[in-house]
């Protein structure tokens, strides 16, 4: 049995991060969990002492019976899982494609995919707003009409005939374009650190590009795939900035185009029902923790943790 490392110096180096986490994460978390048990409304702090499970009862009831919240729940599930798959698999495919590209081609290609991430959220959302604009001026509408595929312009994110799929597709598209680049960068740099000789060896032994990817490359970046999956899962569960703008600007249907995180935000700051919003947020955090742990477990994270070499 290797001896346990002494906590002294390690603790010292972790201290600043721990302090930050404490002030900006743990304290707000505790506060918001607490508020979830209070009837706080319109920031009326007088009722902070009355603790009850009312918010959770209400939430439970609404999830079962409120059609709008049920739509939000479905959207959250579909949006999170589909975008997660798109981001991780898309990132992997892009990274592999770049790995097999010549450097002069892969660099501009990488930059191109990073562009959406480098664009401010509002500007990026605005581009999509114009793209899906319901009138004839909408880019998508004008393209499709000039190609003769449609006769009348459509409201892509709101048209009852197309809902909920059109709203979901837009959500996945808008977030996917930003999301894939994260996996792409992580996977690409991981692939680049695999010795070139392994690739040459496999080629000489007759591996096709697909076999090379499947048997040599992907197994060696398993850890990175797990990391990106969990990271993306958690950030997709809590993302709402683009979605907020596109819903506010009328590109997306309010119910079919909202996820749980946006619902929490709107409840807290538009409906001014802070106690209820805090309860909903707490549920989201709990779901995130459970799903995150589950994902790590499914992907056998522990197996991949290595004992540090030598004394630390």
């Amino acid at each position: 049995m290797p001896g346990r490392p002494r906590p002294g110096p390690a603790f010292f180096f972790l201290l600043p991060a721990l302090a930050l986490i404490l002030v900006f994460y743990v304290v707000p978390l505790i506060l918001s969990v607490y508020i979830g048990f209070t009837p706080l409304r319109d920031w009326n702090l007088q009722r902070l002492g009355e603790l009850s499970l009312d918010n959770y009862r209400r939430l439970y009831h609404l999830v079962l019976h409120d059609p709008d919240l049920r739509k939000v729940v479905q959207t959250t599930i579909v949006f999170t899982s589909v975008t997660l798959a798109v981001n991780v698999l898309g990132g992997l495919v892009l990274a592999l494609a770049m790995f097999f590209m010549d450097e002069w081609l892969s660099l501009p290609y990488r930059l191109l995919w990073l562009l959406p991430r480098m664009t401010p959220v509002a500007v990026y959302s605005l581009l999509w707003y114009y793209f899906f604009l319901p009138g004839r001026e909408g880019i998508l509408n004008s393209w499709l009409m000039s190609l003769g595929l449609i006769d009348e312009p459509r409201a892509w994110g709101k048209d009852p005939e197309l809902l909920p799929y059109s709203a979901w597709a837009i959500l996945v598209l808008v977030n996917g374009f930003v999301g894939v680049s994260f996996g792409m960068i992580v996977f690409y740099s991981a692939l680049k650190s695999i010795p070139r000789e392994q690739v040459i060896a496999a080629r000489i032994d007759g591996a096709s590009t697909l076999q090379l990817a499947r048997h040599v490359l992907i197994p060696q970046i398993r850890w990175h795939i797990v990391y990106v999956t969990v990271w993306q899962l958690l950030s997709l569960l809590t993302t709402f900035a683009h979605i907020f703008l596109l819903v506010e600007w009328g590109t997306l249907d309010r119910a079919w185009g909202s996820n749980w995180a946006l619902y929490v935000f709107n409840t807290a700051f538009l409906t001014q029902d802070q106690g209820f919003a805090a309860a909903a947020a707490t549920v989201l955090v709990a779901v995130g923790v459970v799903l995150g742990l589950l994902a790590l477990r499914l992907m056998r994270f522990r197996e991949m943790m290595v004992e540090p070499k030598g004394e630390l």
Partner: protein, 365 residues
């Protein structure tokens, strides 16, 4: 097996010419060593043979088959890398089985072949381990097993011994050579270690700056270097080189080197006259010279020098002297401890003469 032939092969990477119009015959069943300094293009030649790179110009043949445009997998070569390039996520067994699995052989045959080659290389007890759990020498054997398991026509070795410690290197050198002879496989071995090249090769090909400098049996390359590069690259310590001027006495060229006059033989004299040389480079191997108190009788090369440093190596001493401001190394028996001013004497048949502009040996002019 198969003979490998390069005919006028060049390889350029952008503006870098890594291999420059190279023609080499790697004989069937022989052990050929590509020897050259770092960056000389050895690995590139190996990759060209393997098919990893396509030549910019020239052709490559395996026997009668033109393989210039064939992909690696249709060439049936085995390649062992300096860093072994084992797949870290696979066990030793899976590593060795991988080339066979890619060919779609059935599991029973794979199992038999993996065990067979593992027995040959004495790594049977390692089959369940992962590369990370092996020593350098063991990894090297696994890499060799992976290259041999597919029964290649050509075995390519890219400095496979350079990561091993000196003793292990000696052992594996011998084993590798024996194994190659036993299998009768055509082997191309890349190294920048001239001692390794001398001891293993049936034929040495010396490469510098992408060009073949000389090829031939080890002893011939050693004793009759074609140019100054080969003379000074091979040997430890390498050959001494001294710039010299030519003086004509009664129509016969004499060479003034380190203050002394040396009368070259008829053949060399003729070459000097023919080429109208007024300068040459005199070279000789440290172990071919001896030290003497007095100038010798006869016509051997002899010049005065001052002992500067004596390095005892146990089996021999390496004596560094200074002659007319230039360092000269001489190997002497261990009991000899020279000092002061002495004569360096080189037998006539051991004196090498080179043309100073091109560096070519007068014998090859």
């Amino acid at each position: 097996m198969v003979e490998v032939r390069l005919e006028g092969v060049s390889k350029r990477f952008g503006r870098v010419v890594a291999v420059d119009n190279v023609s080499i015959v790697f004989e069937d069943g022989r052990f050929t060593v590509l020897l050259g300094p770092s960056g000389s293009g050895k690995s590139t030649i190996l990759y060209l043979v393997a098919g990893v790179y396509k030549p910019s110009s020239g052709r490559i043949f395996f026997g009668d088959r033109d393989v210039t445009n064939l992909p690696p997998k249709e060439r049936n070569v085995g390649l062992v890398f300096q860093n072994y390039a084992l797949y870290p996520h696979m066990t030793v067994y899976e590593n060795i089985a991988f080339p066979l699995r890619l060919r779609g052989e059935d599991e029973a045959a794979i199992d038999r072949k993996v065990h067979e080659v593992a027995r040959l290389l004495h790594i049977e007890e390692l089959l369940d381990r992962r590369p990370g759990q092996l020593s350098g020498g063991q990894q090297q054997r696994v890499a060799l097993a992976r290259a041999l398991v597919k029964e290649p026509d050509v075995l390519l070795l890219d400095e496979p011994l350079s990561n091993l410690d000196a003793l292990l290197r000696l052992t594996i050198r011998g084993e590798l050579k024996k194994l190659q002879q036993k299998l009768g496989i055509t082997a191309i071995h890349v190294t920048h270690d001239q001692a390794e090249a001398m001891s293993m090769a049936d034929k040495i090909v010396v490469i510098d700056r992408g060009r073949v400098q000389q090829e031939g049996p080890p002893l011939e390359v050693y004793e009759r270097p074609r140019n100054l590069f080969v003379a000074t690259f091979i040997g430890s310590p390498p050959a001494n080189t001294l710039p010299a001027t030519v003086e004509h006495r009664d129509g016969y060229p004499l060479i003034r080197v380190a203050g002394s006059l040396y009368r070259p033989g008829e053949r060399h004299a003729a070459k000097i006259r023919e080429a109208g040389l007024d300068r040459v480079v005199v070279a000789f191997r440290p172990e071919h010279a001896r030290l003497a108190e007095h100038p010798p009788e006869g016509e051997d090369l002899a010049f005065e020098a001052e002992v500067y440093l004596v390095e005892p190596l146990g089996r021999e001493n390496i004596v560094t002297l200074e002659a007319a401001g230039m360092p000269v190394k001489v190997v002497t028996p261990p009991e000899e401890r020279p000092s002061g001013r002495l004569y360096v004497v080189v037998p006539r048949e051991r004196v090498l003469l080179f043309e100073p502009e091109t560096g070519l040996s007068l014998d090859h002019l």
